[in-house]
Amino acid sequence: MAQAVLAVLAISGVAAMLALILVVAERFIARYGSCTIDINQGTRQITIEGGKSLLNVLTEEKLFIPSACGGRGTCGYCKVTIREGGGPILPTETPFLTADEQEQGLRLSCQVKVRNDLVIKIPEELLSVREYTAVCEKIEDLTYDMKRFILRLQEPDRIDYVPGQYVQLLCPPYPGSDEEVYRAYSIASDPAETGRVDLIIRRVPNGICTTWCFEHLQEGQTVRINGPYGEFRLSDNPAPALFIAGGSGMAPFVSILHQMEHAHDTRSVRYFYGGNQVRDLCLLDEMKRFEEHLEDFTFVPVVAEPGPEESWDGRRGLVTEAVSEEFDNLADYEAYLCGSPGMIDAAIKVLKSLGIDKARVYYDKFA
């Protein structure tokens, strides 16, 4: 017995001592002094203590690089161009970088350790990305599994974005999830209301962030978002446009339609919106309002298979089927898609078969 206690004590003692040595060593050895990071040729210069990953440093400096995995090197979103000082590309990065990207000096910022001065380049629009605190003013039920969260911005109290862009919502730890995660949601509000951001969120079974939004987030609670991000937006081209969305893919189009209304945009728009059942469709009244107020806008809801108790006299089938029934030739059109990857891939196939130029198909894929 005494020997067992002694043994445990001895081993724990040695292990604790070694741990202590490592901690002390880390304090003294792993010091890199101050490093200067030059961003976009002097647009911004930051001086920080070296030793951390570039992604963390940039986030601390409120420069938000998109990252879905939280710096573990698994999502491949946090690419930045490093002109000087990045060192060789690590094996953890190569799966995410094409030969062209490696040539251009692109790196995963979460894998690059700041150990000396760096010269980097990040996309211009990311410089305008900021972090916002907001109060969740109202939560509305849109369908049985979709809600609209109306966020009132606090600090800063206004946001400048292009309709179609998205923000990242910070989901804090809660019982059932022990880490902070960010998830991307399109902005679904009127861009004229600069102090407000609406998010349309569909519940994902076992989704970390959607579970938090649906079960824990309360009206009046403070949340944090950062953004805006994304290239999805209405083009300046007055060509007729085709919108295709499913479920919560509605979100960016709400914002875009508001924008068109304010700008008295007269282009022709056909909006095909699909759901499995009638109960999957949201914001039908709002779309009716846009039909009345916009010059040439037609909203076409499509239901795959109305439930036994649902009455539906609109179109039936898949959105892609509805599109190919409606049009013979889309060569003059531009297409905007938002929805699940499956829907988008199917839609692109149909659009191509109808003669649309692939460069004029814009989409946001939400995996």
């Binding site: 001895a10 081993i11 010091r31």
Partner: protein, 198 residues
């Protein structure tokens, strides 16, 4: 045993660890990295160098921990746990130092350093040191010699495999197959050294 005698023993042990008692080719320890990291001479040299360094230092550290702590407390049976913990901590420490002061070496060693933690040859060297009842000085010779022996074996293998790239190996034997056959032949060749030290 006087110091000069001990020194002589250390040298003999060191020499025999490189040739007659080669930890890789006669004791077959550390086979996993030996077969997987022996494709190029350059990387083999990197890994081998790291093994020499870590093996020499950990054998000495483990000798101290064993004789000054475990033997005193009558806890010899705990050596497995203790040795592993010390090796892991040491590798961590070395990694930190190299990362800080020689980023180039750090990049070259890359994944090899942490891999060494679980290299059985490293733990094996420390366990042999106990079984054979070496003194501190002899342990130093043994650790260094065993490391150099391992380096020599993997270097020879990498050299052979680089040439193998240009030769026609039967499809079924390509990769690990031919590597193991070569390892066997090399082991036979090393047995030839066994007469050297009588």
């Amino acid at each position: 045993m006087s110091l000069s005698q001990e020194l002589q023993t250390a040298l003999v042990v060191c020499f025999s660890a490189v040739f007659t008692q080669n930890i890789l080719l006669t004791l077959f320890l550390g086979m996993c990295p030996f077969t997987s990291v022996s494709r190029e001479v350059r990387t083999a040299l990197g890994l081998g160098g790291a093994v020499v360094f870590v093996m020499t230092c950990t054998v000495v550290l483990n000798w101290m921990a064993y004789h000054w702590l475990l033997v005193k407390l009558d806890l010899e049976f705990f050596r497995f746990v203790l040795f592993i913990v010390i090796i892991a901590a040491f590798v961590q420490f070395v990694e930190m130092v190299i990362d800080r002061y020689s980023p180039r070496l750090y990049q070259n060693l890359g994944i090899f350093l942490p891999l060494i933690t679980v290299n059985c040859a490293i733990l094996g060297a420390s366990l042999f040191m106990v079984i054979r009842d070496y003194t501190l000085l002899v342990s130093l010779g043994w650790g260094f010699g065993a490391g150099v022996g391992w380096l020599l074996a993997i270097l020879a293998m990498a050299g052979i495999r680089q040439r193998l790239d240009e030769s026609r190996v039967p499809v079924g034997l390509r990769g690990p197959g031919i590597t193991l056959i070569i390892a066997g032949l090399m082991a036979l060749a090393f047995i030839g050294f066994s007469g050297v030290l009588g």
